[in-house]
């Protein structure tokens, strides 16, 4: 190349870039030296540099280059060998969003929009939510303002890719001289190259989730040690110690007499018809030998589990309560894939679209609803059940109840929509959280508000009692989760780290951890004592709406907006299997008492039961066999156009469900 030509290019480049003083200097020195000093550098013989300079001078600001470059890369990626295709295609998404953001950043709004619309179809299946968010970004200022875009810009995306695919990609980029694409890939993607064959396409769930700078921290965080074992000296332990005696005498009269007496006591708390079914279930249990075996197995499994010490000071349980819980545990029906639970459904009627949340007490006798008109209503199903059988028949009278009085307790105090209302384990308190940023504690005995906890800065989405009461956790739009105790006005701990709203919270059975699900599509596990994040679970593709912990403390289930349920192993932070089946929001999840079944309730008006017992036993064999789909859907119970808002397995393994009937829109 001619040296003068080079000088011209450089000059043009400097002027275009606005480096006027530099251009002036260059001009001066060109005049002075007449090109002699520059020619000493051997740049015009270096073809690489040559090209680079040429490309710079050509079309630095031309927005169409992005479209060209990307569409070329795309067609190359999609036409590559099937073996490597999925790895190469994985690269497309980050390139796509960064091309778009580059275009927006440079102010080419129109081009950015047309670029976005022509290629968004490729990524919609996996990244729909993100694309919806990004679609609104139209001005450079939005990029600065929007947290999601900012975190994308600032952090690199990790992509695992095998050596060969990586080489292919680099070769392509060099061959086609697409410096622009190369630049984007270098800037925003962090390749983790491994040798050997490419991974199969199915297990790339991790690879597609892009959450800012998460991966590094997530990997780091997930190294931490956690103790998922149950508490020492828990009621289950005590039951097992005494259980030896009881299981022998089970066949004898002792059990049936005591059971019946207790049943009659119990029945006053539960509904009339439930009692009979429990009896029936019990007969079955005594009759079949298989369930016996199952019980022994589970008990051995339980006793072999590690035990941990509580890190919080635990509340003392009164003897009565303890006795009744023990009694319930003793009378628990063993559930498995062949022994299904009975489901009692509480349908809210005439809610006029105002029911935001509902929950059921542990014995199923109380039902609470949080309404958008700031009120909380608590129904005592035992009372309704007594007067009930006749009231059920004529629907108009039923809502009015006896003597024209309403048949529920109205709790008024909040000044915003109530987004959660939950019962303490013995059922004597209700905890509610609301858009007025407060959490309130109500007594079901006094029907009055006891405490108002202020601390959150925004709407409190969820509040949950710990398994032993006294402590509770809350989560909010202000992106924090907080731990409280009933006797203090101020929170004890604050958990910050989620990148978006914290939507749901759940306690670990040993009370040392809480799990939070968020709109940033992750679930986190926090140590209650230190307030540190100890696990990050990445894999959901949309907002996490519900959480449940297995009774043995080893597994966690989380449900999201799209209807996917994920089973997580707490110790490895790995997803065991996604449970697919629902096609709308999973509002609620619940494990059966011994952890063999998982129940899920969804906006698609079904309750599904999943067999999760096999996975917990056979994990080792499974690992050898590869990831076979062990967890399966056992039953689907469709409701009559009633989305399922809440589920609760009672201690005796009767499943309670609640939901508000919605008139089909015709």
């Amino acid at each position: 190349m001619d040296p003068e030509q080079v000088d011209e290019f450089v000059m043009g480049y400097l002027k275009k870039k606005g480096f006027n003083s530099a251009a002036k200097h260059l001009q001066e020195s060109l005049h002075n030296n007449n090109g002699s000093t520059f020619s000493s550098i051997d740049y015009h013989n270096d073809p690489e540099l040559n090209k680079l300079i040429r490309s710079f001078s050509q079309s630095e600001n031309d927005p169409s280059r992005y479209r060209e470059g990307y569409s070329k890369l795309r067609s190359w990626g999609y036409n590559s060998l099937d073996l490597y295709k999925h790895e190469l295609v994985r690269v497309m998404y980050p390139v796509f969003i960064h091309c778009y953001m580059d275009l927006v950043g440079k102010g080419h709004t129109q081009e950015a929009r047309s670029f976005f619309n022509s290629f968004r179809k490729d990524h919609e299946m996996v990244h729909l939510r993100d694309l919806q968010k990004l679609g609104g970004v139209l001005a450079p200022s939005h990029l600065q303002e929007m947290e999601f875009a900012r975190s994308l810009r600032q952090s690199k995306i990790n992509i695992k890719i095998c050596q060969y695919s990586y080489d292919l990609l680099l070769q392509y980029l060099h061959r086609t001289e697409s410096t622009l694409m190369l630049g984007i890939i270098n800037e925003h993607i962090n390749f983790q190259v491994y040798s050997g064959q490419p991974n199969s396409a199915s297990d790339d769930i991790e690879a597609v989730t892009i959450v800012g700078s998460f991966h590094e921290t997530a990997d780091h965080v997930n190294q931490k040690e956690i103790h998922w074992g149950l508490l020492e000296d828990s009621l289950e332990d005590r039951l097992e110690k005494t259980g030896g005696l009881l299981s022998d005498s089970e066949k004898g009269q002792g059990e049936s007499k005591a059971g019946d007496m207790d049943d009659s006591k119990k029945r006053s708390a539960e509904i009339g018809k439930q009692g009979s079914s429990i009896k029936k279930l019990k007969k079955d249990k005594a009759g079949t030998a298989t369930t016996k075996v199952a019980r022994q197995e589970t008990s051995t499994v339980l006793s072999s589990m590690p035990r941990v010490k509580p890190e919080l000071a635990m509340p003392v349980m009164s003897a009565d309560v303890e006795e009744s819980i023990l009694e319930d545990l003793r009378n628990r029906v063993q559930l498995s894939s062949i022994a299904m639970p009975s489901v009692s459904f509480y349908t809210f009627v005439n809610t006029h679209n105002g029911l935001n949340s509902s929950s059921i007490s542990h014995d199923g006798s109380l039902v609470a609803g949080g309404f958008s008109d700031s009120s909380i209503k608590v129904w005592d199903m035992a009372k309704i059940g007594q007067a009930g059988s006749c009231a059920l028949q004529d629907e108009n009278n039923q809502t009015v109840g006896l003597n024209g009085r309403r048949n529920y307790t109205l709790l008024v105090g909040h000044s915003g929509p109530v987004y959660s209302a939950t019962f303490s384990p013995p059922g004597d308190y209700v905890l509610s959280s609301s858009a007025d940023t407060t959490i309130r504690l109500w007594s079901t005995k006094l029907n009055a508000n006891l405490v108002c906890y202020k601390g959150h800065n925004h709407t409190v989405w969820d509040a949950q009692f710990s398994p032993f009461g006294h402590y509770f956790a809350s989560c909010s739009h202000d992106r924090t989760a907080r731990i409280w105790s009933m006797d203090r006005m101020q929170p004890l701990r604050m958990m910050a780290g989620h990148l978006s709203d914290v939507d749901c919270v759940q306690w670990h059975p040993n009370c040392n951890y809480i799990a939070t699900g968020s709109s940033d599509k992750t679930v986190r596990l926090w140590d209650v004592q230190t307030g540190e994040c100890v696990r990050i679970f990445i894999g959901h593709r949309s907002m996490v709406l519900s959480l449940a912990m297995s009774p043995d403390g080893r597994y966690m289930a989380s449900g999201d907006e799209d209807g996917t349920i994920m089973m997580w192993d707490l110790s490895t932070a790995r997803c065991i299997t996604p449970l697919m089946g629902h096609n709308s929001c999973v509002w609620t999840l619940s494990y059966s008492g011994e952890g063999s079944l998982l129940a899920s309730g969804s906006a698609d008006c079904t309750v599904k039961l999943w067999d999760v017992s096999s996975s917990t036993k056979l994990t080792k064999a499974e690992e050898k066999n590869g990831n076979s789909n062990r967890l399966r859907s056992l039953r689907t119970f469709p409701t009559k156009s009633t989305p399922v808002h809440a589920l609760r397995f009672s201690r005796r393994n009767l499943l309670f469900a609640a939901g508000a009937i919605s008139k089909p829109s015709s």
Binding site: T109, R113, K133, G135, G136, L138, A139, S141, H142, K273, L281, A339, M340, P341, S342, V343, S344, F345, Y346, T347, F348, V349, N350, N353, G354, S357, V367, G369, S372, K377, W379, M381, I384, G385, G388, Q398, T399, V400, N407, Y408, P417, Y419, H458, T459, W461, H477, D503, M543, L545, E561, S584, A603, V607, N629, L634, F637, T639, K640, A658, A660
Partner: protein, 544 residues
């Protein structure tokens, strides 16, 4: 460009009083507005999710504005989702249907009913993993393939298509229910209980799994029990109840039910020819047929055409028995007046000429036969009459006579009944009410002046007090029939002569609709003035 065009910004600016907004500013603002709107909608979706809903409402948007510490948008409070209307001529422009309300109307209107208070009802969704078939639960799918089946196929790939036989499990309760209903239908011993059973069949949910069994049962029993009149009648009642049940999806089984139903309509022999009133059964079944065609005619396109073909074949085959003809005519007339006009009226003349000898008492010595012939004649008359009635009802612009005048005429009605018309009317229990007044026994002598009187003009008005029990008019004895018949012959002659004079007037009146006018004239020729009661009062009043 974006969703928000700059024109929108300009219009909005004008509406809030900014007149000097430069186009550049609007252009800059447009994307920002879109971004903000998206932001708020995103938050609104969060609020919607936390309210456990899947439809976005105005309150969710208010909640989102609240989260952003913005003033909520007032005036959009609504319990449910909005109803949007599409703007004509635009593909994706919608607006809310917001009517203007007059304050006066609001204030003067009575207080609306207080909304019902929230409540909780409890039911069993499942008992030990099995869903009970109670009204509170969703209706079960009829056939549910085992869940494992699909997984199996999935794993083995498309090469091996493993299909386990589909299990159809009936609960014990349903089995018992079916047995009981079948027993009641066959035994005929307790009509009261059977009636209750029919009500249950027509209203209970959860019966769907039994439908295939019922269709089978009905088909079997109909083919077996053609001689058993009561059984057939019971079976048809069962069919009607099944059709009425809103929880049953009967469409897939219609093709199995139809043969049995058509059998009960056009079979040669239904029960005992002399002792049983098989006419009633045929009429009942004809009603069923019309019910089915009305409900499923749109979804099963071939249904009506196939049915009409069968019936027309029966109607036009001279070898078939008169009873079969009767059933076919009743069936066709139940299908509506277009079918009648196209298929019956076009064939009316040749058919009547065939029927003539049967009707004549002198030629037809067998009294039973002639009775049947008169039955058929009555059915034809009724079909034609209803058809013309429907045709004529279309003209509303004729002056209607004062009701008082009509009432004056009422007194004559009973007497004015043409004796012979009884035959056509007495069997039809499901006819429009006006027909009922005809069913009384008229005096033996017909008064000619009543013919032109306003007597038959009450066709549009149900007159309860003349609704005498039909049984009294039931001329099941053949002697009565033949008695009237001899008179009929004479009457007909007289009627014909009168008809000629009327023809001119009729033609003039309905010359604007030549078709129906001609039709009427033709019918007039064929039937004489027996057709007159079918002509609506308003039209008839022109005579007066």
């Amino acid at each position: 460009m974006g969703i928000v065009p700059k024109e929108t910004i300009e219009v909005t600016a004008q509406s809030i009083g900014i007149t000097n907004l430069s186009p550049e500013a609007a252009l800059m603002l447009a994307p920002d507005v879109e971004y903000r709107v998206r932001e708020i909608m995103q938050e609104a979706i969060k609020c919607m999710r936390h309210s456990k809903r899947t439809t976005l409402t105005a309150s969710d948007v208010d909640g989102a504005l609240n989260l952003r510490s913005l003033e909520p948008s007032y005036g959009f409070a609504s319990g449910g989702p909005f109803r949007f209307r599409k703007a004509i001529g635009h593909q994706d422009l919608f607006y809310t249907d917001d009517r203007e309300v007059d304050f006066k109307d609001v204030i003067e209107s009575p207080l609306p009913k207080a909304p019902l208070d929230a409540g909780v009802v409890c039911h069993w969704l499942a008992i030990e993993g099995v869903q009970p078939a109670i009204p509170e639960n969703a209706t079960l799918e009829v056939i549910r393939a085992p869940a494992d089946n699909k997984i199996y196929e999935h794993k083995d790939g498309p090469l091996i298509d493993v299909r386990l036989p589909v299990k159809h499990v009936l609960s014990r309760e349903l089995q018992l229910y079916f047995q009981k209903i079948a027993e009641l239908t066959v035994s005929k011993s307790s009509p009261a209980l059977f009636k209750k059973a029919l009500v249950s069949l027509a209203s209970d949910s959860g019966l769907h799994p039994l439908v295939p069994y019922f269709t089978n049962f009905i088909a079997d029993e109909v083919s077996r029990g053609l001689n058993d009149f009561l059984l057939l009648f019971n079976l048809m009642h069962v069919v009607r109840s099944l059709l009425q049940n809103p929880h049953i999806h009967i469409e897939p089984y219609l093709h199995q039910l139809m043969p049995s139903i058509v059998t009960c309509l056009v079979s040669r022999k239904l029960g005992n020819r002399f002792a049983d009133n098989h006419w009633e059964l045929r009429d009942f079944t004809a009603n069923l047929v019309s019910l089915i065609c009305k409900r499923f005619g749109n979804t099963c396109i071939t249904l009506q055409s196939r049915l009409t073909k069968t019936l027309v074949n029966a109607f036009l085959d001279p070898k078939k028995a008169l009873t079969q003809h009767y059933g076919a005519i009743q069936g066709l007339s139940a299908l509506g007046h277009t079918v009648v006009r196209l298929l019956i009226l076009s064939n009316l003349e040749p058919y009547l000429s065939l029927l003539e000898p049967e009707l004549d008492a002198e030629k037809q010595k067998n009294q039973m036969k002639s009775y049947e012939a008169w039955r058929v004649y009555g059915a034809l008359l009724r079909a034609a009459g209803l058809c013309i009635h429907d045709r004529l009802k279309v003209f509303p612009n004729l002056p209607s006579p004062s009701p008082s005048f009509l009432h004056k005429g009422k007194g004559k009605i009973i007497n004015a009944e043409p004796r012979k018309r009884k035959l056509s009317a007495d069997s039809s229990e499901n006819q429009p009410p006006h027909k009922r007044l005809i069913t009384t026994d008229g005096p033996d002598v017909l008064r000619p002046q009543d013919r032109t009187g306003p007597a038959p003009m009450h066709v549009d008005k149900p007159i309860g007090n003349y609704n005498l029990p039909q049984n009294s008019a039931q001329p099941s004895s053949s002697e009565q029939a033949s008695d009237g018949e001899s008179r009929n012959g004479k009457e007909k002659e007289r009627g014909k002569s009168r008809a000629i004079s009327m023809k001119a007037i009729l033609g003039q009146i309905w010359k604007d609709d030549l078709d129906s006018g001609r039709l009427l004239v033709k019918l007039q020729q064929l039937y004489g003035d027996r057709i007159l009661p079918f002509i609506p009062s308003t039209e008839m009043s022109v005579f007066l």
